[in-house]
Amino acid sequence: MLHRQTLRWIWITAVLVVGLTFTSALAFAGGGREAASRVDDRMTIAVPVEPNSMDPHTFTSRTARKIGYLVYDSLVFQDPETLEYLPGLARSWEVSDDELTWTFRLRDDVYFHNGDHMTAHDVKFTYDRILNPATQATYAFDDIGPVRSIEVVDDYTVALHYDEPYAPLLHYMALGQLQPMSRRAIEEAGPDFGTRPIGAGAGPFEFVEWRSGQDMTLRRYENYNWGSELYQNRGPAHLAGIVIRMIPDVQVSTIGMQTGELDAVDFLPDRDVETLRNDPNIVMNQVHLPGMGLYSAFNINKGPFADVEVRRAANYAIDKQVIIDTVKRGNATVGHGPIPFFFHGFDERLEDYYTYDPARANQILDAAGYRRGADGIRSRNGQRLSALTMVRQRDDYIDTAQLIQQMFEEVGIELRLQILEWGALTDAIFAGEHDYTFMGHGHGESDVVYTLFHSSNIGGFNLAHINDPEMDRLTELQRVTTDLDERAAILREIQQEVMVERVLWAPIYNDIQYWPSNARIENVMVHPNGWFLLNDARIAD
């Protein structure tokens, strides 16, 4: 008699047999394909996070932006050393006297990867697309600023008309989500443009294929002849192509560097730096990352940090060097404020302002009337200095939070740590449920102060939840001031407000990151934002 159970197993066995047969067949077919296509003049780079899209207008992933540097060329480039803006697809540019119109003169010899000639009409199409709500543009929408209209002056001249002066425009152009794209390529791809951006760019490498969860393949663009003066090689790249592999486990990427399966990795954990540094086959490219590796923000509206004196004391209680030495294994520098020391407009006065001085922290708290209880935690008028501290579920954040918890305890402030996953964390801290929290950002421009301290960003990354007309005025003013010295003065004023007057933050460190590359590939350049610039890269002899 046939049991029900037996029948179930007949099915499972059948599936098993059929599955195994197909598996083997497919696997062997696939094996042949890979073996044949694996050539040495391509560079293989591992990335830990798969991009969400390759459409510069909608991607929100750092990885996508980095790959975008290779596929799409911008109107303007920025020299990583001098920070000077250099011609790209635009030969030159100028801003009108009233600072409301930016005019770009384009090269007339640029062809997109699909063979279409680039003209001012493509630039206008690209920027109009960002402004069109149907595009659902994300960062690109913010980057282009308060533009009113885009005008085609002639085939190779385009003008951007603004409602108010917009200082960071060139920076965002060079940063890369505002690169011109081929109208025909975008229209042909339709809704799949983000995953199949074929022929759309005018960069040194063209997009070929993206296999979900596996890899993305780029090929050298043979007609490329408009390289920036950043590079020695202005013509087609030396490398035949680039394979970007999605390797979610960063430890495995390190192993892949050692076995030679990978030529470079996009993210190297601090604990693996020493391992690769001692490998003669690996070149370590060091970059001081833009933005703030890690900072802590006080919620000034509730909890113990509503009192500015407690916030001031807290800043003296943190030994940043200990955090850098233990959590970051030395791969960071002390953070002084919202703008890193290597950015335009950094206020040098902050460098020596808060040094580790627990005695001073105690003094400030004593003077403010906070007395220690039996457990060592201070209180005043029955209010205990005990802060709900929301921490992102990531090793470096948690380790730092625990160290600061101990440091604060020494001066009588208690931190109650609540570890949260990113989605839950942003929900809570955007709503202002925290007393204290930790965050990092990778903004490459001082304009970040607008995101961090303007009242319109309460509910976003204004994590101090400061709503103050003076802060709003200053953060708006730096955006519209195009004179560099004037803007620097405003930025310094903002930093004084943030760190000295109002004490909204306790900055922790600026990240130093390493981008290792295989020594078989020479002339690898790393952009300050941490991506490989490969126009000059070639296979070593």
Partner: protein
């Protein structure tokens, strides 16, 4: 018969409706907003609001639920919030590697597990049995990602025989399948051994031996066939688990499977993708069970459907 099939299909739809409703409300209840997660460190309240609107998240939940049901009824699972790829296509692409890994892992587990289980049972009270059982104990105790890491260090870094990562050739399949299969082979070995030991003590085995059958025939023809029933039950259960995606091993070996996709989608609060994955898995389960029940009647005419 026909009535039975129609009834079962109707019941299957009710089950799937229940699953989809449950999943819809579950994913919307997870704290964290898809637009905020997607915009990352550059989320501004105005951008978040605009993106939420374009995702249709500004509508009341009941309206969103109605739209979702309407679309699913038409076979439209929508596009991923994160990548804008069609959900169905993405699941198709990621399903196959998971099936390959599950079948290879379970195949290895059955092969190694049954062989060593039989060996242990036939060599009772010898060092062979002890060795098999010790190795099995290690297999059960060792987390599979630790084993995976060890295998990777030995075969990839030290010997350079096999790739550490990726997908596409049989070589890529070896280490992840071994890391997965070892745990299950250990479980299967223990079950095979105990089941065989029990059966080898039964009267009919004694009769078989008494009538002069050689030991091999006794072992494989009579004992093993009966001894495999619990093994097959366990293997089937675990195969189901593996088909849901082996997240840790898929991540460790950069295997482009469904498990990794599910975890990435949950982290990104990619509602359409999460709903799609769960619904596809549930449909698969319901469908296989339906098939089993229907074929049951075909294969055994004594079964009456009423």
């Amino acid at each position: 018969m026909q009535q039975f099939i129609i009834r079962r299909i109707l019941v299957a739809f009710v089950v799937l409706f229940g699953v989809s409703t449950f999943v819809f409300f579950m994913v919307h209840l997870i704290p964290g907003d898809p637009a905020t997660v997607m915009l990352g460190v550059r989320a501004t309240p105005s951008r978040v609001a605009a993106l939420r609107e374009s995702m249709g998240l500004d509508e009341p939940l009941v309206v969103q639920y109605g739209n979702f049901l309407l679309n699913v009824a038409q076979g439209d699972f929508g596009r991923s919030f994160r990548t804008n790829r069609p959900v169905v296509h993405e699941i198709q692409v990621r399903m196959w590697p998971t099936v390959q890994l599950a079948l290879a892992g379970m195949g290895l587990a059955l092969l190694i597990g049954i062989a060593s289980g039989v060996l242990a049972a036939s060599k009772r009270d010898t060092w062979v049995e002890s060795l098999v059982m010790v190795v099995a104990m290690i297999g059960i105790s060792l987390p599979n990602f630790v084993l995976g890491m060890l295998l990777m260090l030995f075969f990839s870094v030290h010997l350079r025989w096999l790739p550490t990562m990726g997908y596409g050739t049989p070589f890529h399949l070896v280490l992840p399948a071994l890391s997965l299969g070892f745990l299950y082979s250990a479980i299967i070995a223990r079950i095979t051994r105990s089941s065989m030991v029990e059966i080898l003590g039964m009267d009919y085995i004694r009769s078989a031996r008494a009538k002069g059958l050689n030991e091999q025939a006794v072992m494989y023809k009579h004992a093993l066939r009966n001894g495999l029933i619990p093994v097959v039950t366990i293997a089937g259960l675990y195969l189901g688990v593996l088909l849901g995606g082996a997240v840790v091993i898929e991540t460790l070996f950069s295997w482009p499977g469904l498990g990794r996709l599910a975890v990435e989608s949950i982290a990104a609060r990619d509602y359409p993708m999460i709903q799609g994955i769960v619904l596809v898995l549930a449909t698969g389960f319901v469908f296989v069970n339906l098939l089993v029940d229907i074929s049951y009647g075909f294969l055994d005419p004594r079964i009456q459907y009423n």
